[in-house]
Symmetry: C2
């Protein structure tokens, strides 16, 4: 890369935050919905419709016009949807759920990234919310964080869980533990997607999740088959299970904690017991330009959610599983062609068996 | 653009803030300087050198490796400068000055962009600093804003003023008014670059700038030729000048205020008097992908500095000057090939004469 190209790359970094909020703000202000219903409106009319000054509307619409999301007619001064017109509503809703989560959970917190790296804590949550701890604790206390985060995670789980269970073998009658299973959605999905006579699924998470989890089991009609155990994964994993699921969890930790988790799971299982991991992964070639995990997760995990963590390569997770007493029987990354182009995480599944 | 390409574009927006802080944080943490002095260091050694966990260092270095700024050697696990090695120090310093300004002045404030559009005020300054007003007032009270902002503006002025004065005719002995001339740097540049017998330059700005401005004149040895007048441009422009300079100012306002300023300047001049404007401009074709002003300034002016404003096209400024009683004698945009590739603003000069 020439010095000129390198400096141009810096300009790309510089405009990243402004581009992000400019486009999101056009949605938040209702400009896009208004134009969908009434194409051809001028900045003056849009301003009146959404309660903003026409000058500001005109300014904000330059970028979506430049990028081809909207069309601008020089003669009439009217705006209409261009590329946005042909994006399916569900796709656009999913993309906006991501944008909103990133705005609420990341945009301001990232300011403190360097301090978060130095301290190993999420300094942004402390500075902005007075909260000491991780995002997963902060969401319990702060509605704005919870709504933007939970909305996204429900979307993600609903989209990815079917793929996960397609690739995971859960024999009839298995006793399954969903590690860090939050309020039971993963257990419910396990039961519904892998139903078999005698299948029992247990959500394991912090004791304060129990009430909501059991309520969810009742609501989904799976209370006979699903149970809850309260505890802390770093203090001990419950025994008596054939299969442990670890979904959306290992990427939250640095290696030392991932190893503690995997060793705890290993201790909890009999020889032959299985662990099935789902986790976003970096590409084996970190310079792969199709994979955006590298562009997002390091700053996101360290600066906005955990003060540590971040995904690894599939080969790294394989090695760590082997180091913790497992034999890896399957390790696959989802084909990126199966993932909507706006979605950042590229998930992998690793299945492993406890060796003698 | 296909729906797939549109959704992929949204992913680009999503990663913008994380990319921005990830790269800047590598500099803030001292990783880049450390690698410049000691190439080949591993994440473990870098962590020890800069006081951060190796896991976090490894995570943060994925993106600069992906983007070719750094090189990573799989065998040794060592990092070294790649493209960054051949960027001149002064260029890198300028780019970092921009990145730092955007971090301090924009990153968090942008969160409130939608509210800023709705209210016409900089909601981010109020929420984050308890400051009601514009960035230009806030910098007087908040050191972090002032340092990041003033450092950038001094860099910008030093780089752009020579080009401006190359294109502006200031006949010997002129009486020049530098409108909104802040603390005198523009007046000093005017005198030093356009020196002629009898040339007098006056900085016009808010009265509180007077002391620092006069001190600057003395320090630069131009106190005999430069003076200060305190006042508010919206209440009246001082008379008795042949030439008015308006630099880095019109882009801060919506059309109604730009017109008030230009009408005030027009009233202050005799027929034949001149106004010389320097302002960043949008390209005539807003879809021009070489021009990044559209990607940055709307969100920046509305959300982070003024709650209004933003550049216009050169043709728009020309029209506004004509509407305010001027004949435009020159209107040129700087050739983008003359501007370092990391620099966002593309400036223009408009020279105009008061008509009868």
């Amino acid at each position: 890369m020439t010095p000129e190209a390198t400096l141009a790359r810096f300009r790309e970094y510089m405009v990243g935050p402004a581009r992000f909020m400019n486009v999101l703000s056009c949605f938040e202000l209702g400009i896009i919905d208004t134009l969908r219903e009434s194409p051809g409106m001028t900045a003056a009319k849009l301003g009146a419709a959404i309660g903003a000054k026409p000058d500001a509307v005109e300014q904000l619409l330059h970028l979506p016009v430049k990028d081809g999301l909207l069309a601008y007619d020089e003669t009439s001064g009217g705006y209409s949807l261009d590329a946005l017109a042909s994006v399916a509503k569900a796709d656009l809703r999913r993309a906006l759920t991501y944008l909103n989560m990133i705005k609420v959970v990341a945009l301001r917190q990232l300011f403190y990234l360097t301090d978060s790296v130095r301290t190993g804590g999420v300094v942004g949550l402390k500075e902005l919310y007075g909260y000491e701890g991780t995002l997963y604790g902060a969401v319990a206390e702060h509605q704005d964080l919870r709504e933007s985060w939970a909305t996204l995670m429900d979307t993600v789980t609903a989209r990815i869980d079917p793929w996960f269970f397609d690739h995971v073998d859960i024999p009839p009658g298995s006793r399954v533990l969903d590690l860090a299973g939050n309020t039971g959605l993963g257990a419910i999905n396990t039961y519904q997607l892998k139903k078999s006579p005698g299948l029992k699924v247990t959500t394991f998470d912090l004791p304060e999740k129990e009430e909501e989890c059991l309520e969810n089991f009742r609501e989904h009609g799976v209370a006979e088959h699903c149970t809850f155990i309260g505890g802390d994964v770093f203090e001990g994993v419950p025994q008596g299970f054939d299969i442990v699921l670890i979904k959306h969890f290992l990427d939250m930790f640095d290696k030392s904690d991932v190893v503690r988790i995997l060793e705890g799971v290993n201790r909890s299982l009999e020889v032959g017991g299985q662990v099935n991991v789902m986790v976003p992964v970096y590409p084996e070639n970190i310079k792969d330009t199709d994979n955006y995990n590298v562009d997002f997760f390091p700053a996101f995990f360290i600066g906005c959610t955990m003060g540590q963590g971040g995904p690894q390569k599939l080969s790294t997770y394989r090695t760590w599983l082997e180091e913790c007493g497992f034999r890896v029987t399957k390790a696959i990354t989802r084909d990126s062609a199966e993932i909507p182009p706006d979605v950042i995480p590229i998930p992998a599944v690793l299945c492993a068996t406890k060796t003698a």
